[in-house]
């Protein structure tokens, strides 16, 4: 029922910041995720990959944090791509139409390349 958050820089062809999330993102844990993403943006990181590969659960609060992050980086012509393979979580992005506003990729390499 908890979330682990880790941030690192990816030094591939297109440099970006990668946020690794591990666990469950809900009303209790999403403030921690929000804080991390806000911190990154405030310190000038506008190319973000959020890795949801190890996320087993996300609720609307978590989706709200991702949408909020996307809006803020867009103000700086930035972008957010997601890494997600879990079918249940993909389904939530489908149902809510968020597939249309996020780039969702199977691997981190793809998510970084397509930023």
């Amino acid at each position: 029922m908890d979330i682990k958050v880790n941030v690192r820089e990816s030094n591939g062809q297109r440099p970006c910041s990668v946020v690794d999330l591990n666990g469950e993102i809900d009303v209790y844990t999403s403030p921690k995720v929000k804080e991390t993403i806000t911190g990154l943006i405030d310190s000038g990181h506008y190319a973000l990959v959020i890795n949801l590969e190890n996320v087993r659960y996300i609720d609307s609060t978590g989706l709200g944090v991702l949408i909020g992050g996307l809006k803020r980086v867009r103000e700086h012509s930035g972008a957010v791509n997601l890494v997600c393979t879990n079918p249940q979580i993909k389904k939530i992005f489908d149902i809510t139409g968020l597939v249309k506003i996020f780039g969702i990729y199977d691997t981190e390499a793809q998510a970084c390349e397509n930023l």
Binding site: V27, D59, S60, I67, Q88, T96
Partner: protein
């Protein structure tokens, strides 16, 4: 409620599991776990269990975030041979307009919870009562 349940079910009488959590974010995970346990006992598929978990968690989250003055959230699961009916109740106040079925427009930071509940469950009904709080009853059928 228990009596009408016994009348409605045919095999083995009515089963009710009740849970009450404090109206705080940290307890929604416990409701999710309990509902997942109940649903897996009922042989729901993994996908349906995840749907139920999310719908119930969204309902609890709304009680915690929006029901002014509510101290606890009650989750009641009524178990039937062919379906589960989950009631999520708070004792805070609400306004009706926000709870109506919606189509999603521009994505916003909020406003997805009720939409998800309506998408993931087979039947969803809100009862607003200014005195006694909001009561959400939602049903999911066992797919055979």
């Amino acid at each position: 409620m228990r009596e009408s349940l016994i009348l409605e079910t045919t095999t083995g009488g009515g089963n009710v599991v009740e849970l009450r959590i404090p109206s705080k974010a940290e307890w929604v995970g416990v409701a999710r776990l309990a509902v997942a346990g109940i649903a897996s006992r009922l042989q729901f598929s993994i996908e349906d269990i995840e749907d139920l978990k999310l719908a119930v968690a969204e309902a609890c989250t709304n009680c915690i975030q929006h029901a002014t003055g509510g101290e606890s959230v009650s989750i009641t699961c009524q178990i039937y041979p062919d379906k589960i009916k989950v009631t999520v109740e708070d004792s805070g106040s609400a306004t009706a307009s926000d709870l109506a079925p919606k189509r999603l427009g521009e994505p916003t930071v909020g406003g997805l919870g009720v939409f998800l509940i309506r998408s993931l469950m087979d039947d969803v009904e809100y009862e607003l009562n200014p005195e006694s709080g909001t009561k959400l009853t939602m049903t999911k059928f066992l797919r055979t």
